[in-house]
């Protein structure tokens, strides 16, 4: 792990600015296939907690879980607008916001990034870090052998 950290974080023009360990299962759930749950912190959340979110390159937007949405509700910027999002669970009505999301690093640097997030009342699933308005703003790599997530802002 340290070798890859060094190669990706410490070179003259590093690929990544931060690295963290991800969980490949969701706590308490028997999943058929490993997934990638990374740690993030929504800026402005009460009591400054961090959460796990499913890194989902096939997901269109970030969707905040009920608890994450609840923790930032008093700190959200003006709503960008309401829309109906097509999801795997069918159409979901909600609101779009811009929210700074902090990807937490164990090595290198934490990364704050402005993301477009979707908040739908009653969304019971975990949070998703989707592609548009979040992952497309990053350069990232995974090492599934060590559950390591490397990231930097896209240039």
């Amino acid at each position: 792990m340290a070798d890859f950290d060094s190669a990706l974080l410490d070179s003259e023009e590093p690929f990544a600015t931060g690295a963290s360990t991800y969980s490949d299962t969701y706590p308490g759930v028997d999943e058929l296939h490993p997934r990638i749950y990374v740690e993030f912190r929504p800026k402005g959340a009460d009591s400054d907690p961090s959460f796990l979110a499913l890194l989902d390159t096939g997901g269109h937007y970030c969707i905040l879980s009920e608890e994450v949405a609840s923790s930032v509700r008093n700190h959200l910027s003006d709503c960008l607008g309401q829309t109906v999002l097509r999801t795997a669970h069918g159409p979901v009505r909600g609101e779009l916001y811009m929210l700074t999301i902090e990807l937490l690093a164990e090595a290198g640097e934490h990364l704050d990034i402005d993301a477009v997030v979707f908040i739908a009342p009653g969304w019971r699933a975990p949070s998703f870090l989707g592609y548009s308005g979040m992952l497309d703003r990053l350069r990232f790599a995974l090492n599934p052998q060590t559950n390591r997530f490397y990231f930097a802002r896209a240039l």
Partner: protein
Amino acid sequence: MEEILSHLGALRYRKAQLVAQEAAARFPGHAGIRRMDRALNRWKAATRPADGHSRTEELAWLRSPPESARGKLVALVGSELVAAADTMAELTECLRSKPLSRSPLVVRIG
């Protein structure tokens, strides 16, 4: 705005970005369009040094949570369960009264 939101809802993100950019140029005084253009096209990023902490202990705890935690929101610092509640509001209230060495990792146990 309606056109941009319609593109976003229909998952045509790049089209929404383009329309927001064009609309911001045409209507520079429109606060909503300006906000949308910033969110879609003029986002910012910043870094700050990590504190060297890892979540190894928290993730180890989460691999086999106790049965009593099922369905609960739990807050962990290291391998210590510092609070558990049914809702985020209750959990936040619990956390307010606890001096913690670092910010907790909060997870809803499935």
